[in-house]
Amino acid sequence: MLPLIRTEIVEKKRWVTSEDFLTGIAVSQSIPGSIAINTAVFVGNKVAGIPGALSAAFGAILPSFTAIVLVAVFFLRFRELTVVQNFMRGATPAIVALLAAAVLDVGKSALKGFTVIIITAALFLLLIYFHLHPVFALLISAALGLLLGRRR
């Protein structure tokens, strides 16, 4: 996704410099929400202020919005069909596979050090067995990051 945005914004349109684009990515990653939309807001604001930011966000959201509404129209009409139900029964285990792969993928780069792995495991168990609210998982994790984050 990011190389695609970069080619379009930095090389073709020359809206922002390569350096500004990197700052934009850094800002986008440290803020909740999708990186694509956040980067759009960053670039839009750089180029044309708040109206630019809003237009860029609108542009980033519109394609998937349209796609979901179209899918929803058809899905909600045909969801009772056996074919659709069985498609979902097959797709659901694959989502589990997708998420498990994401855990390994993100985990490999994000979880370095014993403490971090223990924190992750503890949060997982709290989420599963004690129904810890997901927001608390984020808050606890961020607080521990501030307390224990000595590196750099």
């Binding site: 800002v27 750089k46 394609p63 979902m88 989502i95 997708l98 992750t120 989420l127 994790s141 990051g145």
Partner: protein
């Protein structure tokens, strides 16, 4: 209804750290357990559709839930709700960035969030497995899907579609 959609998804938007999948437990918490807008089964369908369609999971979920509950107007309001917090936060961050580099502090928080992001994705995998894998066929699809994803750089959407087609065949 519209106002509650806006508010609920704005709440989800504020905590949508780490891209898409880490938001799944929060969406489940709000939409299924809290407000009972969707049943457990409808939630699985929501995630499948959100993952099958290009675009961020949180935004896709908002659009779908909004549409399901209140038509196109609902879809617009919910999508707006989930996107507004991050739009506002990016603009604020850009203002602050010009005045001082708040990098060290935010960097620690962002690094600190990583364990939670991984734990949340793992928790999403666990609860979807508990709800959505009920027999040996499902286990096989999950294991094959996982092996394929780990060994080949296949497009996730393609893997989901193939698994769905496999579902049509094996559950016939």
């Amino acid at each position: 209804m519209f106002f509650q959609l806006l508010l609920t998804f704005a709440k989800i938007g504020v905590f949508a750290f780490g891209g898409g999948s880490a938001t799944i437990p929060l969406i489940q918490n709000e939409i299924v357990n809290g407000l009972h807008w969707l049943s457990a089964k409808e939630f699985l369908e929501l995630i499948a559709i959100a993952e099958l369609t290009p675009g961020p999971i949180a935004v896709n979920s908002a659009t779908f839930v909004g549409y399901k509950l209140a038509g196109v107007g609902g879809a617009i309001v919910a999508t707006l709700g989930v996107c507004l917090p991050s739009i506002i936060l990016v603009l604020i961050a850009m203002l602050l960035l010009q005045k001082f580099a708040a990098n060290i502090w935010t960097d620690k928080i962002v690094r600190g969030l990583r364990p939670a992001v991984v734990a949340l994705i793992a928790a999403a995998a666990y609860s979807i497995a508990a709800e959505g894998i009920s027999d040996i066929k499902g286990i096989i699809i999950a294991v094959v899907g996982f092996s394929v994803l780990m060994t080949h750089k296949l497009n996730p959407i393609l893997v989901l579609v193939l698994a769905g087609v496999a579902g049509i065949i094996v559950y016939l």
